[in-house]
């Protein structure tokens, strides 16, 4: 079977050309064959998937319509799933089975989506390559010696390799957009507060946001329709009336004003990536938009502010993993503090420990003002700078990542890894929606991506713009050549 989009699969299911059970079995079969190589899944939940598919078939038979009814999905392993292990790719939670569903999982369940399993990631979503997973190294389906990006590398690789038509991920500093860019899929980070965080294991509460990976922009709109919306269980969720994001997607972007912040195209950007952004501007103009260079001079402060805020929040959020209540506990300790120390020393990986220490330091009395507070002030300024630019522009256009996918082990130095987040972190800091749209392959066959950024809660405009680009540029989904085992 060829790879279909969510929209196409919906037509097949509702046209009774294919049952949800058949479809689910096709994907489970693909996972069994292909994922031995890609290693995108931590847990495959075959039994639950089959049951869910059968239930979906009944609903379809009873005449129920629904764009996700019977559609398989992969879920990043930091989103809690009742009765299914949720590990955050950490030894610490390697045995943790939540007794509750995240709000997005409830919503997908109500929509009739079929969860195939839980996807690999950097431990606790800290990383940009998925190499920090305790369990396995996920491969980039386009080049098996390259990383899929991270932290939602499993989600990106799984959609790219056709192991699920769509997947959910989470984005704290680029963790959806960067792997989407590396793997050539569409990846959306919605506005902070648009999608409930209830049940998403927190990394940095003020930055985390759940989003999706899809094969095209239309699918992205379909999925967003189903996961967005106010949730009484999440105090930071916005009381926002969610429109139908597929409406007006084809309206075109005539007259739209698109800003291209020059700071995003300065040194350290791979020429082919810069070229892709410039080309994109041409496509936008062709589609009737007006593109103009603009300036976000505070961009250079976003990265340090991001690493301070996210690490500070993480140091507190991850404190609950102490061996007392659930998850891993070190054995044979003679007292409480030894149990805490050994559990956390053995249970967390190196990168997680580095961030906890960094964050603990930034919050310490005597350093709080110089680090955490200063970073929050920078945050306010960055938000204002974006707001000012959005007075003149509807959308901003930037690269998603400075370079295309790198090889395993290439970025051993943590700071060089952190630098790769330079194009994405400011968006989280400002709480804005942004999307990666595939922009072709570089000379070595690696996917390139462009990032589009919109004002808060303007996903509709963002998706319209992304759709127009997708149609005009004509890259479509970047099919990996990798076919091994399929």
């Amino acid at each position: 079977m060829k790879d279909f989009t969510v929209r196409e699969l919906g037509r097949l299911l509702h046209g009774r050309e294919l049952s949800a059970l058949e479809l689910t079995k096709i994907y489970l079969d693909r996972i069994a064959k292909t994922d031995a190589v890609i290693e995108s899944f931590i847990t495959v939940c075959e039994e639950q998937a089959i049951k869910a598919a059968q239930a979906a078939d009944k609903r379809i038979a009873s005449g129920e319509k629904g764009a996700l009814l019977g559609i398989p999905v992969g879920i990043k392993d930091n989103i809690c799933t009742s009765g299914v292990k949720t590990t955050c790719a950490s030894k610490m939670l390697s045995n943790f089975v939540p007794p509750y569903d995240a709000t997005v999982i409830k919503k997908l369940g109500q929509a009739g989506a079929v969860m195939l399993g839980k996807l690999n990631m950097d431990e606790f979503a800290m990383g940009s390559s998925t190499e920090k997973s305790y369990f396995k190294k996920t491969k980039n389906p386009h080049l098996l010696n390259c990383v899929p990006g991270g932290s939602s590398g499993g989600s990106a690789a799984c959609v790219s390799a056709g192991l699920a038509p769509f997947a959910l991920g989470s984005d704290t500093g680029g963790s959806i957009r960067q792997p989407a860019s590396f793997c050539g899929t569409v990846g959306l980070k919605p506005t902070y507060g648009l999608v409930s965080r209830y049940g998403l294991v927190a990394f940095a509460s003020s930055l985390d946001q759940i989003g999706c990976f899809t094969r095209d922009v239309y699918d992205c709109a379909i999925v967003l329709n189903h996961i967005a919306g106010h949730d009484a269980m999440d105090s930071t969720s916005a009381p926002f009336i969610v429109p139908d994001y597929t409406n007006g997607l084809t309206d075109g972007i005539s007259g739209k004003r698109i800003g291209i912040p020059k700071q995003y195209l300065e040194s350290g950007i791979q020429p082919e990536v810069r070229e892709a952004v410039n080309k994109a501007a041409e496509y936008f103009e062709k589609a009737g938009a007006v593109c103009e260079e603009c300036s976000l001079p505070l961009t250079k402060y976003a990265l340090p502010a991001y690493y301070l805020i996210s690490s500070a929040e993480a140091s507190s959020n991850l404190a609950r993993f102490d061996g007392v209540k659930y998850g891993f506990r070190a054995e044979n300790c003679s007292n409480l503090s030894e149990m805490y120390e050994t559990t956390r020393s053995l249970g967390f990986g190196e990168e997680v420990k580095r961030r906890i220490m960094l964050g603990t330091y930034a919050l310490s009395s005597g350093y709080y003002d110089a680090y955490y507070k200063k970073a929050q002030q920078v945050r306010t300024l960055i938000q204002r700078e974006f707001a000012d630019n959005f007075k003149r522009f509807d959308i901003l256009l930037t690269p998603t990542t400075p370079t295309t996918a790198f090889e395993f082990g290439e970025k051993a130095d943590p700071v060089s890894m952190y630098m790769g987040d330079i194009c994405t972190v400011a968006i989280n800091i400002a709480g804005l929606p942004a999307i990666n749209v595939p922009a072709g392959l570089d000379s070595r066959g690696k996917p390139v991506g462009i990032q589009l950024i919109a004002p808060p809660f303007c996903e509709q405009s963002l998706l319209k713009c992304a759709y127009a680009y997708e149609q005009t540029a004509g890259f479509g989904f970047l099919q990996p050549e990798f076919k091994e085992g399929i």
Binding site: F96, G199, S235, T236, S316, S364, Y372
Partner: protein
């Protein structure tokens, strides 16, 4: 040298909301371990808090009753530390923008009324409880109490003695009871307090080095802890040593405090704004709505008792110190009893009977007490008979008039009937009559006593006196 003790208090009161501060679990005390828990209050990964608005209501009530200004834009913060009773490894509390600030309470001190400053009142969540099984060598955790809402009331260092501290605690307790926002049961841990103490030579402006005493479980323990700690500090200074800033644990059994941790070992709680919660915006309408719904507070009741009912200061203070008794008093007066008589019964005999019967609730309605009091006023019950009627109502509450009739306790006010008793006693006791005539008043008491004996205590004593005088004058 004479020393002055300087005391500040941190009072934690559990709020009597039905559900917890950040989830919908019940706050009820005494349930089986870990039955009032959910993924949120046990800190499971991915769960998020949602603030119970009632907690803010209650904190604002407390703040208004304690003359605080109410913060318009408050926030919540995380206080980070590791302990097994704290499932998230941080307590959600308030750091620099508490709900209430800059208040005061007036207490009665030895030198008259005294204002005690209240620095702040903030909201926070309670932790769980550790249960140590020494026999089997392990510790269990009960998370039922996790997430029960608390207010912490922090005072200025304005208190100068254990007595003042106790008086302040009692005042706070009665206010919280009047507001009906806390059960204030120290034995159940719903009211707890930490004490900050320092001493300084009398007259010195600068404060001495303070210590913080934890684990104080009753008002009397607070008194003992303050007295013991201030003595310890004075002894140190007298011996030429210095007080070390530290947190100390009060052991009420050993009547002694122990060093818990010094300033160097003090926790760095790494407070920072709780990113999972939005700011608490308390608009002025919200405040005035609460202000208008506040019940009458002990202070204003006391003033009413003094001016309107003419009670003594001590009696009024005694009555208002317990909301239950004070409510009952108002109800009794409302049913037509004389305020003074009602106060006498509710301060004297009734608390005695409550203790005797081992209960906190008066089992009969205020209407019955009012009726009993009216019967004594009308003269149909003697005060000793009234006592018997009231005790009977403790056992089997019913109409006091019926009790008096059943038990034959109604006073005999009929002149002829009493005269018959008097004449009989005079006839039987000529010697006593002689003594009275020779001016020995003691004998009058004897005759009256005899008449009471024959009438089984029912004859009206005033009437006996009058009739006796009349007869003797004739003879």
């Amino acid at each position: 040298m004479r020393y002055e003790t300087v005391i500040g208090l941190e009072i934690h009161a559990e709020l009597a909301t039905k559900s917890k501060i950040y989830c919908s679990c019940s706050t009820e005390f005494g349930a089986a371990p870990n039955t009032h828990t959910c993924p949120i209050c046990t800190g499971m990964p991915g769960t998020l808090p949602v603030l119970n608005k009632k907690v803010v209501d209650y904190a604002v009530m407390a703040g208004l009753a304690m003359n605080c200004s109410i913060t318009e834009y408050g926030k919540q913060d995380r206080k980070n530390y590791f302990y097994p009773d704290l499932p998230k490894s941080y307590q959600t509390s308030q750091f620099d923008q508490p709900v209430c600030q800059n208040g005061y309470l007036e207490i009665a001190s030895e030198n008259g009324p005294k204002k005690i400053g209240i620095t702040r009142i903030h909201i926070e969540e309670d932790a769980g409880k550790l249960i140590h099984d020494d026999l089997r060598g392990y510790t269990l955790v009960d998370y039922n109490r996790c997430g029960v809402p608390l207010i912490e009331i922090v005072t200025e260092p304005d208190l100068r003695s254990a007595k003042e501290a106790k008086c302040f605690l009692e005042t706070v307790k009665s206010i919280l009871e009047y507001l009906e926002i806390s059960d204030c049961k120290m034995q159940e841990g719903s009211l707890r307090c930490d004490v900050n103490i320092s001493v300084r030579p009398a007259g010195q402006q600068q404060l001495g080095v303070r210590t913080e005493m934890k684990n104080i479980n009753s008002f009397s323990a607070a008194v003992r802890a303050i007295e013991s700690e201030s003595e310890r500090q004075i002894d140190l200074l007298e011996a030429g040593k210095t007080v070390i800033r530290a947190t100390r644990r009060w052991d009420d059994v050993k009547n002694q405090s122990f060093d818990m941790r010094s300033k160097e070992q003090a926790h760095d709680y790494r407070y920072f704004p709780e990113p999972d919660l939005v700011p608490i915006v308390i608009d002025r309408q919200w405040v005035s709505r609460i202000k208008n719904s506040l019940p009458e507070l002990p202070d204003s009741r006391k003033k009413k008792y003094l001016s309107k009912y003419g009670l003594s200061d001590a009696d009024a203070a005694q009555l208002v110190s317990s909301k239950k008794i004070s409510d009952y008093f108002e109800d009794t007066v409302g049913n037509g009893a004389s305020p003074k008589l009602a106060a006498n019964w509710l301060i004297g005999e009734i608390p005695k009977l409550l203790r005797k019967k081992g209960t906190e609730e008066i089992p009969f309605c205020a209407e019955y007490l009012a009726k009993t009091i009216q019967m004594t006023e009308k003269g149909s019950l003697s005060s000793s008979a009234a006592k018997a009627v009231i005790e009977e109502m403790f056992d089997r509450p019913r109409d006091p008039e019926n009790i008096a009739k059943e038990k034959g306790l109604l006073q005999i006010n009929d002149e002829a009937a009493v005269m018959a008793f008097v004449e009989k006693v005079i006839e039987e006791n000529p010697q006593a009559v002689k003594e009275i005539k020779s001016g020995k008043d003691k004998a009058v008491g004897f005759i009256v006593g005899q008449v009471m004996r024959y009438s089984k205590g029912r004859a009206n004593p005033q009437l006996i006196n009058k009739l006796l005088k009349d007869i003797l004058a004739e003879k």
